[in-house]
């Protein structure tokens, strides 16, 4: 049968799938509260204790420590908790299998889901940033380019960790449980529950290599205009590679 030609889903399919993924995210109200509401809450709670004294180059402790922490949280909740729970649900419910018998590749879904997640992160960060500017006179980072680069690398690393969570969790519920555990473990070592100075040294050392600590420390450095620690960048890159490999080995479509 030579008359059957392959028609690859075009831009319309990609756009349609992305819009559908966004609708799924937007209609999952509870799923939106964590990545957008929680960081704003942390922002407000830490704003008073951070103080307004300038650390360097006109940047306050709030700018240098609280904002990077909050932005990293937005990225981590979306990448490690939300994205894997969607993937686990898609797999469990047979959505990936159903798409597997259409001309659309299930990989298309992963890409659309990732893109929807990035948009979600952008909204979460924008919301936190607007609140920070309006309520706490936040200052932009000294090195905007470096900050954006670090943010992009952090997103990639967190997604890679999220893919591990999606690959190892058997059910949607367990993926939320595993995702939250990983999120809190990474957050704890990365200074989410108080300054890194108050943590035992060994944890601080580990934390600066793991995606959460590495991401927020590198963002802090970009904010204050300091050079970014190589260990942070290596940690983020290693997380990305490790997560990608583990997910590629263990990920199941059904």
């Amino acid at each position: 049968m030579t008359d059957i030609t392959v028609h690859r889903p075009g831009p319309r399919a990609w756009a349609g799938l992305l819009i559908c993924e966004l609708k799924m995210v937007a209609r999952d109200t509870a799923g939106l509260i964590v990545p957008i509401g929680l960081p704003m809450l942390i922002l407000v709670m830490n704003a008073s204790s951070a103080g307004r004294e300038t650390i360097a180059h006109g940047r306050t402790a709030f700018d240098v420590y609280v904002l990077p922490l909050v932005f990293t949280m937005v990225v981590a909740t979306t990448g490690i908790v939300n994205m894997p729970s969607f993937l686990a649900y898609y797999r469990r419910s047979g959505i990936l299998r159903r798409l597997g018998v259409t001309p659309a590749s299930p990989a298309l879904v992963l890409v659309a889901q990732a893109a929807a997640g990035v948009l979600q992160i952008a909204v979460g960060i924008a919301a936190a940033w607007i609140l920070a500017m309006l309520a706490f006179d936040a200052n932009p980072p000294m090195r905007v380019g470096a900050a954006l680069g670090v943010l992009a690398l952090t997103v990639a690393a967190m997604y890679a960790v999220g893919l591990i969570v999606a690959a190892v969790s058997p059910t949607p519920n367990s993926s939320v449980a595993i995702g939250l555990s990983v999120f809190f473990a990474l957050g704890a070592t990365g200074g989410m529950f108080g300054g890194r100075d108050s943590l035992p040294e060994v944890i601080t050392t580990i934390g600066q290599w793991l995606p959460f600590g590495a991401g927020s420390q590198a963002l802090s450095a970009a904010w204050i205009g300091a050079p970014i620690e190589a260990s942070n960048l290596i940690g983020l890159a290693a997380g990305l590679v490790f997560g990608g490999v583990v997910a590629a080995v263990f990920f199941r479509w059904d």
Partner: protein, 334 residues
């Protein structure tokens, strides 16, 4: 395949695939499975399954739960890799030519869910966007009777509505071969009749349908031929009426005898093939005008019979005769 005028006419119908430029060569089968074998760990799910489905045929796959029906269609859909054997759909190898297969094969999977928060219209549009020339969204939704709930999210649809949407999505890409796994499970009688009508229209438009079912009535009514699966093997492959003939009898008469039936009375009749007793009931199997012949013989012999009933043998009788199981239970009959 017909003329261009035929095609135009056919395309006016709802949910009918566009066959323009898609003339199948009638000589080669739409689906050809050759000695398929699939094992899951220690359990053999499908063993030496061979079947050939002609273009335009509605082909039934009938069997009990666990007989290997779903595995068979998953192998045909290219969702699983057979341990041995090959499958070709419209001449395409289902593993190597997957990309081309996906263009022409529509699949409705048993118990596959869709994006829960998307509406009927959104889902039909989304799945349609994957194909070159999808059916118009509104027409397709109407043809499966979901117009009134086109803005309802998938998670809020009833089981029957979800089923109908799932069938719509199998048809949205104008497929040439459609696999429908448990088409009418969970549908009410009205919706079931609607689905059957949709299938009849598909047949008229030349689409090949592979219908997995354990609903006898559905198979008898719709299918041109049926493969009867039992314990992973094809126990029989024939038209529904051919299968019934293989059951060995066409008619059955049952009655309760209030007085003894003389030995050899019924056995001696030409039309009678077999007589057996089931408690106080007598079951007579045979052919011709069996009810009339048996009644007359009983009256002449002065036997008082009550509750006399005549039945045509059906596919379920054939199933029992050919596999030794009833279709709807796990019990073995003989």
């Amino acid at each position: 395949m017909g003329t261009d005028a035929d095609h135009r006419h056919r395309r006016q119908g709802l949910a009918l695939p566009n066959l323009d430029g898609m003339h199948a060569t009638t000589s080669s089968p739409a689906v050809e499975a050759d000695r398929l074998h699939k094992r899951y760990r220690s359990k053999v799910a499908v063993e030496e399954v061979s079947l050939s489905v002609a273009v335009g045929e509605i082909f039934g796959i009938l069997g009990r739960n666990g007989a290997g029906k779903t595995t068979t269609v998953e192998l045909i859909a290219g969702l699983r890799r057979p341990d041995r054997g090959t499958v070709r759909v419209l001449g395409l190898d289902t593993r190597r030519d997957r990309a081309r297969l996906r263009q022409v094969l529509g699949v409705q999977l048993q118990e596959a869910t869709l994006h829960s928060a998307l509406t009927v219209t959104e889902l039909v549009r989304l799945y349609g966007s994957f194909y070159r020339d999808p059916l118009p969204t509104g027409d397709l939704i109407e043809s499966v009777g979901l117009t009134a709930s086109h803005r309802t999210r998938f998670e809020n649809l009833s089981g029957g509505q979800q089923q109908r949407l799932s069938i719509a999505l199998a048809l949205v890409g104008r497929p040439r071969v459609v696999i429908l796994d448990e088409l009418t499970t969970g549908l009410d009688p009205e919706a079931r009749r609607q689905m059957w009508a949709t299938l009849e229209r598909l047949r008229e438009s030349g689409v090949t349908v592979l219908l997995v079912s354990h609903a006898m009535e559905e198979i008898e009514r719709l299918c041109d031929r049926v493969a009867l699966l039992d314990e992973g093997r094809v126990a029989a492959l024939d038209s529904p009426s051919g299968l019934v003939r293989r059951a060995g009898f066409a008619q059955r008469v049952t009655f309760r005898a209030a007085t003894p039936v003389p030995d050899g009375l019924l056995e001696g009749l030409d039309e009678v093939e077999r007589v057996r007793a089931d408690g106080d009931r007598v079951i007579v199997e045979g052919r011709g005008d069996l009810l009339q012949v048996v009644s007359v013989a009983l009256v002449r012999a002065g036997v008082v019979a009550t509750g006399t009933r005549g039945e045509q043998a059906g596919l379920d009788d054939a199933f029992v005769a050919l596999t030794g199981h009833r279709l709807d239970t796990e019990e073995t009959v003989r």
